[in-house]
Subunit: 328 residues, 2 copies
Amino acid sequence: MSQKASIKTIAELSGVSVATVSRIINQNGRFSAETEARVRKIMDDLNYYPNTVAKSLRQKHSMVIGIIVPDITNTHFSRLILEIENYLFQYGYSILICNTNEDENLEQRHLDTLISQRVSGILCLTGRRHIIPVNIPVVYLDRRPEGYIEKEDYLVESDNLMGGCLAARSLIESGCRSIGIVYAPTVDINHNMRCEGAAQMITEAGLVPAYIKAQRVSAPIATDAVMDYFKNNPSPDGLVCTNDLLAVGAFLALMELGISVPGKVKITGYDDSPLAGVYSPSLTSIHQDAKAMSKCAADMILKMIDGLPPAKSHEIIPVRLISRETTA
Amino acid sequence: MSQKASIKTIAELSGVSVATVSRIINQNGRFSAETEARVRKIMDDLNYYPNTVAKSLRQKHSMVIGIIVPDITNTHFSRLILEIENYLFQYGYSILICNTNEDENLEQRHLDTLISQRVSGILCLTGRRHIIPVNIPVVYLDRRPEGYIEKEDYLVESDNLMGGCLAARSLIESGCRSIGIVYAPTVDINHNMRCEGAAQMITEAGLVPAYIKAQRVSAPIATDAVMDYFKNNPSPDGLVCTNDLLAVGAFLALMELGISVPGKVKITGYDDSPLAGVYSPSLTSIHQDAKAMSKCAADMILKMIDGLPPAKSHEIIPVRLISRETTA
DNA sequence: TTGAAAGCGCTAACAA
DNA sequence: TTGTTAGCGCTTTCAA
């Protein structure tokens, strides 16, 4: 570690007390312009960097926010994190990243580390609820945690129900009369909501949804599932898929079967992932407002850190449909 | 903040000195089994979490590694970061993420923050070289920084030259005799290396590379550039693209022009991004070994933190070609 | 095997 | 406007 100069060094060299140097660093007033100039000069000369660790210890909070996330490699999460990081940096906060790989054990160890680090707050995107034995604010983001308690827990989520509705509605409006929902079992409960939203909308239109289940969230596995379904059932003319990967898998199946998209069958995806816009055909998808979600969660935790109650403990951020070729 | 119990509380309640508690926490020996049992019980009862901040202050390093990265949303970077985080967590290190959005100014501010936080080490993936006025180890990863000094700076990079070669060679081997290189100006110097590698290989084969320049790294813009090129020049029969996005853009252009891929023209991308495997046609691409790169960089910085010189100051990680439909 | 005590670099009363 | 000083929670010598 390194960094010879401390506030004491600076104080001695500039002939003032450490208190004065501290006041200057933090712009707390009660020092003269001349003193400031002299002290600043010394700080520059010595390449002085205030020691945040000492400051944190003294002030009892660290200006660090911990983010617990399943997998930063998933663009949905990295988009959220990017926005949070950018936004919180303006307030002087840094971001500690913890990937859990959906592993409960690892998640707990990460959590313990965050507590030991005395982070100012924790943002949890894993869908797991945590009982923190100390007074660190926690905000859940994106995934509503299992065992979530309304009013007591703090949660920002995307309107997955609405997303499912929008997707199904777009199919119905473009004339589909027989709609399948392509989904896969996953710890991500949001997929369920999307299914539910779609099913609601389909039912409201007087139609009956078909369920096409892939064993995992994976394109090739979705391909198999859809292929299988189309071979053994009357063909749907529209498919709502609970994310873009499944949608691509479905498309690949139809291509294999020689069924034209969007001619015979229309498809919607979810997430508006990077591939949606460049796929061929381009993918109609539900776009989640990562920026709004992030800002909302960040503001919430900022409030809580300041000891104030957030305006609302539960926010649901709207989504929108991006129409592209697969539903043209 | 929060956490009532300190080492002192524990000491008092268990009737030993803080020194003993500290020794127990850190398993430094010099305490009896009975004492340990008693102390541990109290720690459990009080939900005691050792304060890492105080420890860092005292020991003068923080068990935190800062990562400076252009944009975590880019899968290439998030893959690296995921691996680094997983790997370093085993050694007790946490990861502080700083996104620069390729903004030099923001990068500098992030750097200052990291220094103030007294991070144990810095991993820099932005391609910018930093003079750190304090003794914090820096390892450059992925992008060789501008002004890089061999032997003096520490660098782990991917073999982009080799990647360019492999891509071009695969085209040549599948019979292409007229190869275009699709590229775009970017701060990412790796793109240049890929071009160079491809050009070398093409030249060695006695052919002459054509250069097709997109104004930015973007699929639609690449589409325009390629469309334009094909309209005004004799058609190449192979395209090496410096990343997958450009490759997809190129493909879209050819489709528009009614030129079959891989029938008339074969295409290679770079990065083996998530879309490569699921695109239709699937994209032949160069796969970078994120895991090896990350491990190598992490080991390097771990060594440096321990005050030891890494085995080598410069590592170049091999890449491999993933053959898919666009070169079938 | 244990304890006393100094000190890491900083902030914030309190006093001047 | 400035200085003195007591800690924040921990590790680590040194002594017992």
